[in-house]
Amino acid sequence: MNTFDWDAVGDAFPLLLEGFRVTLLATVLGTLVAAVLGLAIAVAGRAPSRFVTVPVKAVMEFIRSTPLLVQLVGAAAVFSSVEPLTIGIAVLGIHYATYTSEVYRAGIDGVPKGQWEACRALSMSPRRTWQAVILPQAVRNVLPALGNYAVSMFKETPFLAVITVQEMVFEARKYGADHFAYTEAFTLAGLVFLVASYPTSLLMRKLEKRLGH
């Protein structure tokens, strides 16, 4: 039994901060992938042909119901020549895209039917209908929900440590093992998550209220 060592906290902090940069990078790029891919899936899911929609739905259901950790470790093992951070961002992005696509879907469904009919009446091309009429209305409503997924992705980035991406928790574990100071390292890492994610959550909630959800 030992007590909390404050020196170790000061000692570990710069290292964790170094790792935190990678954590943020993974979150931002992962969110970008999820935001773009999710939109693509949502649009593909509305294709008129069942040969497109059924496989898309099946694959999404599968990805959504299976653990992120297994997907990460599996992808890292199968594509062993690719850099771990790239794999991490891709897997995080794809995993969350299956969730964001549902958000987009709800947003697109929320656009009044009359808008589609008006576009057809004006004989707009499908591409132009999406681009100029539907998406601008749909995307505005889904922004807060996308933000929520960004926050939860942020809290799941520690999974990347498992495939040797040197993000914050990776550094915390390393520091803990080297100095036998797991308590200090993990407490600090937890606090960093709390300090970073709580204000973001509050902001998202406010944004959501502002947009009238």
Binding site: S65, P67, A77, Y99, A106, G176, T183, L194
Partner: protein, 244 residues
């Protein structure tokens, strides 16, 4: 290909025990989470500021600090700080329970708030005690609304159980990875593992659908048998770990 599956069959007792560890952690973790959801969720609706404040703080703390850190804290830091060591399985159950209990409390709070105001008033008018009111009027109605969100949360919890591998509990992921190491067939091994989790998740969804149907029937709402087969994770999950 066949090499992996023949080893899988040879090692079947081990695979079964790994599967058991995964199921056990899921069931025990979600029971603890359910208990905490109700405790924290009901406390969040309390009239006393202190009770409300404690509930909010606990919820924000466990939602804000990543599950991964909580698990590692319990496994690595607790023994260092207190000299008291939990088994890996217990660490997992406690961490899953605390984390998902915090998310679940929001479901309970939201569902109770969504019961029409007139129901409270009617119960008050009938001179019911607060306990009686909650037990007989509010909760049966709120419960029906909670189940779909709880299903999402349950699937999320199941998806976190592979973390047990990291704290050396011999769960399903650990066992399959051992077989992979022996046969060197990564793709087959991980696809099999993913398929196993998919089946588990779908089984849990079916169970929860049955529960929902029973709860609805108690309120006099009948649903067709077709509703049992639908998947639940397709709903935009507000409980996926987001801010709500």
């Amino acid at each position: 290909m066949s090499d992996f599956f023949s080893t899988l069959l040879d090692e079947f007792p081990q695979v079964r025990s790994g599967l058991w560890v995964t199921v056990e952690a899921t069931v025990l973790g979600s029971l603890l989470a359910l208990l905490l959801s109700f405790a924290l969720g009901l406390a969040a609706g309390s009239r006393l500021l202190l009770v409300r404040g404690v509930s909010r703080t606990v919820v924000e703390f466990f939602r804000g600090t990543s599950l991964y850190i909580q698990l590692f804290w319990l496994y690595y830091a607790m023994p260092q700080l207190t000299g008291y060591e939990l088994t890996p399985m217990l660490c997992g159950v406690v961490a899953f329970g605390l984390n998902y209990g915090a998310y679940g409390s929001e479901i309970v709070r939201g569902a109770i708030n969504s019961v029409p105001r007139a129901q409270y008033e009617a119960a008050v008018a009938l001179n019911m005690t607060p306990f009686h009111r909650m037990r007989k009027v509010i909760l049966p109605q709120a419960w029906v609304q909670m189940i779909p969100s709880f299903t999402n949360l349950l699937i999320q919890l199941l998806k976190c159980t592979p973390l047990l591998w990291l704290i050396s509990a011999a769960d399903l992921m650990t066992v399959i990875q051992q077989i992979r190491d022996r046969t060197g067939e990564s793709l087959t091994a991980y696809l099999t593992l993913l398929a196993a989790y998919f089946v588990l998740a779908y089984a849990l969804t079916l169970l929860m659908n049955m529960l929902e149907r029973t709860a609805k029937r108690r309120l006099g709402l009948h649903t067709g048998a077709g509703s049992l087969l639908r998947t639940r994770s397709a709903e935009p999950a507000t409980t996926a770990g987001g801010a709500r």
